[in-house]
């Protein structure tokens, strides 16, 4: 009996030692040094910090799972993004691609083969070694495994519909081969790497004892957090629904500051789950949160307390967020039902869509709805992208020289409508179709979004000034999305996310894209303009030369904005953020990286 107890105690001690990973004894030779505060680096405006403290931020949604591979929603990826890393990453300051788990890579002359050299001596958060096997597992057994439900496969598909071939050269070298040149391949290879030793057991291909699809439910919310393993700065420690997610420092994180201090600086990273964005704002004002993403309407109330309470409100009217906001014009309205012939013909007329573009009073929208904190939007590619057509060259300054600008002009809008025979035929002040029926169009957005509702009212008001009747009807968000996918809406104001890489919009702008919602019938019968857009998107990914790609994407944007006009762009809100001054390096916050939204979580610290 006594012996059994001793044996059990011994086992427990061993398990405890495994569970509480202690971290590296010395800094790994291949550690990634973040040059905080060093001149001539992106981190020149940052400072090395000190370890300690618990960082608090907030969200309004519970996570859905801990499985990054199958996640569709940011309520999950905001945590998995902190737990995991990819072969490459984007610099949080410059947004340039830089080495991450791979310390370097070579590209073959023909651009078809990339050889990644992995950092050596790194360990997962549970102390297991990180090797090429984890990379091969992540791509070949997860992302490219048809049994696994993942969106990442969509960004790995090549122009000839094949996928990259990922092979292990040795324990620290991985080769990726593509059948054709695919410029965004580095972006695509930035997908997070998962631990083979922890997850292979859930993959039918590697463990036939489990049913097909088992991996899709692995690492659910019912998983004991102690089983979660990562290479990122923080690991989930506990989760209480509707209250919080607590993440602890990964003892084996491989980022270090210039003084040799292992990152992250914070001991813990806690995300509170709150009822609404309003509650988040109040908690921030109370000092219960250390940082917060805010909206234009929040700026005055925070500015009044900024100095007294010791926080900083970042407001940059010239720095818009990624993403697009637009009016979608449904060119397939009534197609399936055999109705809405007048509307469909009108919506399919390019000059009508151009007239609508001239009716968007962007300045009024910016002034009255965004307190000036927004910029006009002209393109499907985000203003911040180095490929934005308003730049002079790849990554160059924004001059809007080549942007297709439909300035607000009632005269031009009226002239275009007159030109296509949409005129007032009965003298009642409203424009009519050729058959004499009044042009009367429903304009929808999601109810409760006061900014979008305001945009609808402004557009309808300006249209009325030239006799074009737009009836604004706010509808429930899910109903609106259903209308979008069922092609039953007429004009809809909504938005899309965005990023630096134009090809990430291929699912929207390609004629057969899953989100080509304004003209789904184009999948079978694309217009000449849509065919051209398809060709340009394929061409854009088929060169490794960014300058050439820029010229291709410029033509793509001009074609979309000038000739296609399926989406008429409105405005893009400016970056606004708030953080307490005690959060060191919070000054680096930008649309792509914040202390609370990721990107800076490993280098922020408490002063």
């Amino acid at each position: 009996m006594k012996k059994t107890v001793l044996v059990l105690l011994g086992l427990l001690l061993v398990f405890s030692a495994l569970a509480i990973a202690q971290g590296y004894e010395t800094m790994p030779a291949d550690a990634k040094i973040i040059p905080l505060g060093q001149a001539d680096t992106p981190y020149a405006d940052a400072q090395p910090g000190v370890r300690g403290g618990i960082f608090y931020c907030a969200t309004i949604s519970n996570p859905k799972k801990w499985n990054d591979v199958t996640a569709h929603e940011t309520s999950t990826t905001q945590y998995t993004g902190l737990m995991l890393e990819g072969l490459i990453s984007t610099n949080p300051v410059t947004v340039a691609i830089e080495p991450e788990l791979a310390k370097s890579w070579d590209v073959s002359e023909d651009g078809l083969t990339i050889t990644f050299h992995l950092r050596q001596g790194l360990k997962w958060s549970d102390g297991e070694p990180f090797t090429a096997d984890d990379v091969i597992f992540s791509f070949n057994d997860l992302y490219l495994n048809e049994d696994v439900e993942t969106d990442t496969r969509d960004i790995l598909v090549l122009p000839d519909d094949s996928y990259p071939v990922v092979t292990k050269i040795d324990d620290y070298t991985v080769q990726v081969t593509t059948s054709v040149v695919f410029r965004p391949i580095l972006n695509s290879m930035g997908a997070n790497i998962l631990p083979k030793h922890a997850l292979a057991q859930y993959v039918h291909k590697l463990n036939p004892d489990v049913p097909v699809g088992t991996f899709n439910s692995a690492w659910g919310l019912d998983t004991d957090p102690s089983e979660l393993v990562g290479m990122g700065p923080f690991i989930v420690e506990s989760y209480t629904p509707d209250q919080n997610v607590t993440m602890r420092r990964n003892p084996y994180y491989y980022h270090y500051d210039p003084n040799g201090v292992q990152l992250p600086y914070f001991d813990k990273y806690v995300v509170l789950t709150v009822a609404s964005q309003d509650v988040s704002l109040l908690k921030f004002r109370n000092g219960e949160l250390d940082a917060l993403g805010i909206r234009a309407a929040d700026v005055p109330i925070l500015k009044s307390e900024e100095a007294q309470k010791g926080f900083t409100v970042l407001v940059n009217p010239d720095l818009p967020n990624y993403g697009t906001s637009w009016i979608g014009i449904n060119e397939d309205i009534g197609l399936a039902e055999g109705t809405h012939d007048n509307e469909r013909a009108l919506f399919r007329t390019r000059d009508f869509r151009a007239a609508l573009a001239h009716l968007v009073d962007k300045q009024a929208i910016i002034d009255s709805l965004y307190n000036g904190l927004a910029v006009p939007q002209w393109s499907p590619v985000s203003y911040l992208s180095p490929f934005y057509a308003g730049r002079d060259y790849y990554g160059g300054p924004v001059t809007e020289k080549d942007a297709v600008i439909f300035e607000y002009s009632l005269d031009k809008a009226a002239e275009l409508l007159d030109g296509i025979g949409i005129v007032d035929r009965d003298g009642d002040g409203w424009r009519d179709y050729e058959d004499g029926t009044r042009v009367e169009i429903e304009l929808n957005t999601n109810a409760g979004n006061t900014v979008r509702e305001g945009i609808c009212l402004i557009v309808a008001d300006r249209a009325a000034k030239i006799g074009l009747k737009l009836n604004f009807v706010p509808v429930d968000f899910n109903t609106l999305v259903n209308k979008l996918f069922a092609s039953t809406g007429e004009l809809i104001i909504l938005g899309l996310t965005g990023g630096p890489e134009p090809n990430n919009g291929a699912n929207v702008y390609k004629s057969d894209g899953g989100l080509h919602f304004w003209h789904y019938s184009a999948a079978d019968n694309p217009t000449e303009v849509e065919k051209k857009i398809d060709e340009l998107l394929d061409a854009g990914v088929s060169t490794l030369d960014n300058d050439k790609a820029f010229e291709i994407y410029k033509e793509y944007q001009i074609t979309l904005a000038k000739d296609d006009l399926g989406l008429v762009y409105t405005v893009n809100s400016a970056f606004t953020y708030a953080y307490y001054n005690k959060v060191g390096n919070g000054n680096l916050s930008s649309p792509v990286a914040t202390p609370g939204g990721g990107g800076l979580a490993d280098i922020c610290y408490f002063k």
Binding site: S276, K283, N286, P300, Q308
Partner: protein, 264 residues
């Protein structure tokens, strides 16, 4: 004694007290306990709130908020209670706000109540949160209950109100508390989208035609003062020189700025 003479005496006494505590390198507690100029005492109290919250019990703080010998000590206790009250339930907070506790204790419940007030829901299809809050801001049982609701009302209305709306409502409103809260909300516009100069804000804090407008000037001015290069001694000197004069809001701006310097 004429009023002018009384003020002069206060200033002299305050100067002596201030010089003495500064000369002795006294801590904030000494200033809060001994300073005769109420704004200086209160500023020290504001700066003490965090440490009191960390070191004193709720019962001790409630006693000090009521019986503290100076405004500085009572302010410190009330500010500390506001921090401790964040852990109270909605029912507990509302009971304090509506109850017959000392106003310094009820005041401590105003900020913690905001989270609950903006989260109120109803099964009634016609329920509108801003209407509900406005009704409490007008008809609430106590000044503090009305003020908490008024602050929540303007918080929830922030997306639809511009500076011009708030300027009007800071003067004319259905309750003093609503006018006050409108002034608070207005101050942020004076620091962002509708900026005013320091001279304009000083004039507003002194001569604003309503308490709401003067509050807008007070809060915005305090922000500029905090961001200036002025020291705690500069603010103390100013408060001594204007003790009992100008307006409560103008003095309040310097009090807030001094509290900030004390807290550093």
């Amino acid at each position: 004694m004429k009023l002018t003479g009384l003020r002069a005496l206060v200033v002299v006494m305050s100067s002596i007290a201030l010089l003495s505590v500064i000369g002795l390198g006294a801590n904030l507690e000494s200033i809060a306990s001994n300073e005769l100029v109420p704004e200086i005492s209160a500023a020290a109290g504001m700066a003490l709130a965090d440490s009191y919250a960390a070191t004193m019990t709720e019962a001790e703080l409630e006693a000090l908020a009521v019986d503290g010998r100076t405004i500085g000590l009572r302010t410190a206790a009330s500010g500390a209670l506001a921090i401790l009250y964040r852990d109270k339930t909605e029912d507990e907070i509302m009971a304090i706000l509506k109850g017959d506790a000392d106003p310094m204790i009820r005041a401590a419940a105003i900020e913690p109540a905001q989270v609950y007030l903006v989260s109120v829901t109803s099964d009634d299809e016609d329920f509108k949160l801003t209407d509900y809050l406005k009704d409490i801001a007008i008809n609430g049982e106590t000044h503090e209950m009305r003020l908490a609701a008024a602050k929540a009302y303007y918080f929830m209305s922030r997306k639809s109100l511009k500076a011009a709306d708030l300027e009007e409502q800071a003067v004319t409103n259905d309750s003093d508390e609503l006018a006050y809260a409108a002034g608070e909300a207005l101050s942020g516009f004076y620091l962002s989208f509708n900026p005013k100069t320091q001279a304009e804000l000083e004039d507003l804090a002194i001569n604003g035609s309503s308490e709401g407008l003067r509050v807008a000037g007070e809060i915005a001015l305090s922000s500029l003062l905090i961001k200036s290069d002025l020291t705690a001694l500069d603010f103390e000197t100013t408060l001594l020189s204007i003790a009992g004069t100008k307006s409560a809001e103008y003095r309040g701006a310097y009090k807030i700025a001094l509290a900030n310097r004390y807290a550093q």
